[in-house]
Symmetry: C2
Subunit: 273 residues, 2 copies
Amino acid sequence: MTDRTVYFLSDGTGITAETFGNSILAQFAIKPRHVRRPFIDTVDKAHEVVREINGVAEATGQRAVVFATLVNKEVLAVVREHCQAQVLDMFGMFIVPLEEEFQLKSNHRVGRFGDAAKSQEYHERIEAINFSLAHDDGQSAKNLASADVILVGVSRSGKTPTSLYLAMQHGIKAANYPLIPEDFERGRLPDALKVYKAKCFGLTIDPDRLSQIRNERRPGSKYADFGNCRYEVAEAESMMKREGIAWLSSTHKSIEEIATTILRDIRPDRLIY
Amino acid sequence: MTDRTVYFLSDGTGITAETFGNSILAQFAIKPRHVRRPFIDTVDKAHEVVREINGVAEATGQRAVVFATLVNKEVLAVVREHCQAQVLDMFGMFIVPLEEEFQLKSNHRVGRFGDAAKSQEYHERIEAINFSLAHDDGQSAKNLASADVILVGVSRSGKTPTSLYLAMQHGIKAANYPLIPEDFERGRLPDALKVYKAKCFGLTIDPDRLSQIRNERRPGSKYADFGNCRYEVAEAESMMKREGIAWLSSTHKSIEEIATTILRDIRPDRLIY
């Protein structure tokens, strides 16, 4: 079934169509070829992509599946009428029942961002990215007061990607601060974090996975040694318990799952807006 | 119409449901309250969230709209049967036609990530984030050979957020390299980039927007001065033209739009997998 092709057609970036489409396709035991075709915003571009899709159908003997987020009715009509494909009109499927529910007509605005680049929300997102970069890996203890979240954990427990994801996706100012052997010897949190304990969240990780990741960076080092990793992780976990800091293991979780758990547990207000 | 509440219910993070739902809601001239409720993966949690949703409906006199990505049939049944809401079963709407098209039953797997944390794709994404961080702002010319994309442009033209987005969303190793006054005086690209011109992509920005952004960082500086910004942008644009580097203006574009345009123009292979 690898000769199936799934197209994601959009008059915007198609990222939303693709991400959502992939979560649907994950429900099937097949591995089709994926093709994203963004910015299909004119009838001409629609005809062009239809030719491509039909060419693939003829070459493989299998019609394609098309996930479409096309707001423009004429563009959509070209795709629906001329494609040798199962066309799933993702907007239409939802907009019709919502028009009825809201007793409102939809306004057929292309792209989900509009003039997003100028919006307050967008500005905050960029600011959050800058903040998270400036406060990566304990680089700066300045302005921790304005952090929404401070991730703590041993080196390579997943703090950096999680901080950046929280900033990029949710506009959360996420600092991150490493727990290092000196902290374990002193037996307490880094001083800079003391007053911010309520917004700290811990990440931990299985020592064998940690050792594997560290070995990719510094093969054969003490830093990457399994015994050392086991020591650091055990110390970090008992410190988090002692200090009453919420934490989770990143070992089997995606960045998205970690970020969502953090919001749910320490910033539930950010799931509502 | 601000007394409407839209819920995003998921047995996973709900991020996909929320992002897609927001692109649908953007088609309507209303601003409802948004509530994301992730990890609804048991019948008990379903009953709990149903009580919350019905409580809101009673308090406001308006039933809610629920975007649901619930794979578990029993969990979904609780929501469908007991919610005073318009429930949009996002999976069901697509899975039924796809089961017919593929002649396959779906496997009702919860969460779009599965054991994603262990997958090759996930590993590449984390590696890309590390690469982009290490190659932010021309920090290192080492390993530029293994970059997928190198963003160039004047300071604060949007290179950093775009690089991180490309890495995080698409697993693209995106370096970024600033164009600075010294480059304009010499009248040529930084030496480190010479051999990699084919994978360079330029970002430019309106000088007045640039001046505004730089003034937030260093108020009243020469760096932020409008005349200086106009000079740097004009020099950068003519350098990109001269060197034959594809470029776009980030002024009115979101990170997602910039990233998608870059992929389409210089790495179209990465839109297919």
